[in-house]
Amino acid sequence: MLEPVSQPECGLVAEVVSCDVFAGRSRKEIEELEVYAGNRRRKLGDFFSVSGSAADSPEETRIVIAGSVERTKWIGRGMSAGEIVVEGSTGMYTGAWMKGGRIVVKGSVDSFAGMMMDGGELVVQGDAGDYLGCAYRGEWRGMRGGSIVVHGNAGSEAGHCLSGGRVTVKGRAESFAGVRMHSGLLVLGSAERRVGAQMTGGSIVVLAETELLPSFELIERVTSPEIEGVRFEGVFEVYAGDLAERNAKGRVYVKVE
């Protein structure tokens, strides 16, 4: 259990908050873990009061952050197993490069959550910032596996360069959701314009009407389809795209009834 005591204004870089790192460490050792406040090297114990004890393996380790840590970045970076529960909101890069295990954020996450994710599960009960489940800058293959579920809204470019796995935004996603996506499944409650721009593969499901680019072509109407292994109830229009790209095999399903 980590109780936030103070949060530095300049932001806290704390990728050590991960079940892989905590497992097998004593409370004292966890307090001593290195974090960065700007360019200053500090200890995790300077910003959180640590209680409880970690299990021996990451699988059995459960970390609870009892409050909001909006200025703490990189929580759960590269985590392979175990569970992190955050009772408030988190900063940027939550669950980036995650490989397994589960992160539940009861508040909201800032931008770049689930960046380059490979496996595991990220659940956000509030909203997500921009670049949810995106690729690292300059990389053209993004998230490759695992699942992200956001119960609220997401910023722009959710599922940017998605190359596998599943991203669900129950609320509204801002523009360019699924931009340049290659494979995988992106489900959006509703979406602002330019969904699936430059996509070459994978499927996007939009559960409300949306304005598609002129490079998407209506190919059929289907009822209660199974898309990438998931069944969706209702009537959907199926669009192929993005036809401005070469060999584009992407599909956008727009719910009409």
Binding site: P8, E9, C10, G11, V13, Y36, A37, G38, N39, R40, K73, M92, S111, F112, D130, Y131, R137, G138, W140, S175, F176, V179, R180, R194, A197, Q198, L213, P214, S215, E217, D242, L243, A244
Partner: protein, 444 residues
């Protein structure tokens, strides 16, 4: 390069081939008449360039260092101001060095050294202008060319979301449209000029063809053009307010020219869609290269904004928004870029050089600048210096100090020193080097 101030020039002289360090055209054919150390006549430059040359030796220059005390400035000894600047940077845990577009690559090189030494952040103006273009070229590539190639070869010149007659006054006359080139002996008569914009700008008025798009629909228009070039059927009758007929004609023009170039401005890179607009333009040019030779170039604004991306690129691996807080270079626009950093209140000290963020950043970012210790290096007072705690005078690169700047097409141009500096410092590079030395001393 010497870091000593030269002797004052007293006689009346004419200096030729001076570089103009104002806009990205970086014209290097300016002629100056100088008398008693003052510029009395400027030839070949546009109005913007002329104004800068005349201002350089005018009365409004910052000549001395200033330190803010109890809310107002007092004149300070240079040494004292340099000491103070170094202390501010060493004390900060998330210092940001910002600007660089109007200074030399040599000065920036010292800036990067400082950023690395103090574990700070370094960002430049492209963060708030052409960063979408940079993100696009990182993810898509860039079929570019030099302005020399445009002048000698281009028979189709397109400006998209740019109004060079106002922003880069000599761009058309010196590089793109009017000059006689090796394969374009008749100048303008051998070229077709097309302007795509949301309004009929000055440049649009002299164009052979003007295509007006609805604001924030450039991405759709470019997407349709890409499809037309690749002969993919398009169902829509109009896109972004433009008829299919017009778009087909434009696509045909692009395919049938012998050397085409598309210059895009912030009208494309900063409107809705941003980097994806630019990426669509780049992909369009890439597709066109199956039919003809086609290039894309961003209309970079300041004289050395392109150089900052070059120097940061070869020194750190990243073109802007570089974070050294953990000892190595980390790059993540959206996190490590100036507006985001200031608006989130992460930055706790800032040094500004060769830019005026006080006038150009969003209000929330400027409010943060006012809260934190701020060092400004500039040649005259600006909204930024008004917020500063320490003001250090600079020297105009290409006039009062020598150095390297990169033209908008990434061609480096060495600009010379022509007159002695109006201020008490020989160059921006020298000022930064003094700060660097003090930082080293303070950090032991």
């Amino acid at each position: 390069m010497s870091l000593q101030a030269p002797e004052r020039l007293e006689e009346r002289v004419v200096v030729r081939d001076v570089g103009c360090t104002v806009c990205g055209c970086l014209c290097d054919d300016i002629e100056l008449e100088i008398e008693g150390g003052r510029i009395v006549q400027v030839r070949h430059a546009c109005a913007m360039g002329t104004a800068k040359f005349l201002h350089a030796t005018g009365d409004s220059r910052l000549r001395h260092a200033l330190i803010r005390e109890d809310g107002s400035f007092r004149r300070a000894e240079l040494q004292e101001a340099l000491d103070r600047a170094a202390e501010i940077l060493v004390d900060a845990s998330r210092p940001l060095l910002f600007g660089w577009s109007e200074t030399s690559c040599e000065a920036l090189r010292v800036g990067i050294k400082i950023a690395e030494e103090i574990g700070g952040l370094i960002d430049n103006c492209s963060s708030i202008c052409h960063s979408p273009s940079i993100l696009a070229l990182q993810s898509t590539g860039l079929p570019a060319c030099t302005l020399g190639e445009v002048k000698n070869r281009a028979d189709l010149v397109i400006y998209w979301g740019a109004n060079p007659l106002a922003s880069h006054p000599r761009h058309l006359s010196r590089y793109s449209t009017f000059p006689r080139g090796y394969f374009r002996e008749r100048g303008k008569s051998d070229r077709t000029l097309v302007v795509v914009d949301v309004r009929r700008s000055e440049t649009a008025r002299i164009a052979d063809r003007f295509i007006q798009v609805k604001p924030n629909s450039d991405y759709e228009v470019l997407t349709v053009l890409r499809m037309l070039v690749r002969e993919i059927k398009v169902k829509a009758e109009r896109t972004g307010g433009v008829s299919m007929e017009e778009l087909k004609e434009l696509a045909e023009m692009m395919k049938s020219c012998s050397f085409g170039v598309l210059f895009f401005g912030l009208g494309l890179a900063s409107s809705s869609g941003k980097s994806w607009n630019v990426s669509a333009a780049i992909k369009l040019a890439a597709d066109l290269n199956e039919h003809t030779k086609f290039a894309v170039l961003p209309m970079r604004g300041h004289c050395n904004v392109a150089g900052t991306n070059q120097v940061l690129g070869w020194q750190t691996g990243f073109p802007y928004a570089v974070d050294f807080s953990r000892g190595y270079a980390w790059y993540s626009p959206g996190e490590t870029s100036v507006v985001d950093l200031l608006a989130r209140g992460e930055v706790d000290a800032m040094l500004v050089i060769g830019a005026d963020p006080g006038a150009h950043l969003p209000r929330k970012a400027v409010e943060r600048m006012a809260e934190i210790p701020l060092i400004a290096i500039d040649i005259s007072h600006t909204p930024t210096t008004m917020l500063a705690d320490v003001v250090l005078p600079g020297a105009v690169v290409g006039l009062e100090s020598a150095g390297t700047c990169y033209r908008m097409d990434d061609v480096p141009v060495h600009v010379r020193q022509v007159i002695s500096p109006a201020s008490e410092v020989p160059s921006d590079e020298w000022v930064l080097e003094q700060i660097y030395r003090r930082i080293r001393r303070l950090r032991g």
